[in-house]
Amino acid sequence: MSLRSPLGRALGLGAAGHGTQHWWQQRATAVALALLGAWFAVCLLSLDLGDRAALVAWIGRPLNAALLSLLVLTAAWHSLLGVRVVVEDYVTGALKVPSLVALQFLHAIAAAVGVIAVLQIAIGGR
């Protein structure tokens, strides 16, 4: 006999009310990052990192700017999902919630700066 209500079972969201959301988002971003990360690693190796003009021209191509923006956004999202669990596991007491909020802020800033930098280079004529 299950103690769960029929509604609870139908919704399937579990005790925290989020269901498989965290798990699924982590997997979806993982697949995206495996592809974007492999692409970026190969590109980095074929580029001359000392030649800023060449790098700017490379980012100026629409597909590269798009994929690079997506890499920053997806990496920030996947990273937040991951380090959030690490904090939830190891940080206890009064520091826990402030740490989680600080991590959210840090990832939001990283994502925003990264995307804006790509856009500045791609369409801002940097």
């Binding site: 997997r27 993982a30 697949v31 990052l33 495996a34 990360g37 492999a38 690693a41 190796l45 580029l47 001359d48 990192l49 000392g50 800023r52 790098l55 700017v56 980012i59 690079l68 890499l71 920053v72 990496a75 920030a76 990273s79 991951g82 380090v83 690490v86 840090l106 990832h107 990283a110 700066v113 990264g114 804006i116 930098a117 790509v118 500045q120 280079i121 801002g124 940097r126």
Partner: protein
């Protein structure tokens, strides 16, 4: 609640390290390292967007030897987390749970991430671009 007085189960100092547990905690550790790597990527992009002077300054920082060593270790973290992440996705699809398979896939991840790290740095250094 007297948290400090509860009996604890045997912990890290007691258990013999096994490839499964070592690779598992390494996956988490490299994930945290890559979170720092995200900040590095953003720093690099911001420097790139900020002009020649700023980018030259960033290159000087990234080219210093202690930083280069960290970048090398970071490259390993990247490839390890990538390879072991694919291993996790394979598990998520319901495959490879027998102990011999788990041990074998673990060693594949160790070898693949090491080879990819060395290969990437060989290309970077021999290409003369770093």
């Amino acid at each position: 609640m007297a948290v400090g007085n509860r009996p604890l189960s045997p912990h890290l100092q007691i258990y013999r390290p096994q490839i499964t547990s070592v690779l598992s905690i390494t996956h988490r550790f490299t994930g945290v390292v890559l979170a720092a790597g995200l900040l590095l990527l953003v720093y690099w992009l911001a420097a790139l967007a900020s002009g020649d002077g700023a980018y030259a300054g960033a290159l000087a920082v990234l080219g210093a030897w202690p930083v280069k060593l960290l970048l090398f270790l970071g490259t390993f973290a990247f490839f390890y987390h990538l390879c072991n992440g694919i291993r996790h996705l394979w598990w998520d699809s319901g495959h490879g749970f027998e102990i011999p398979q788990v041990n074998a896939s673990g060693w594949v991840v160790v070898v693949a991430s090491t080879v990819l790290t060395l290969l990437a740095w060989a290309v970077a250094l021999l290409g003369g671009s770093s």
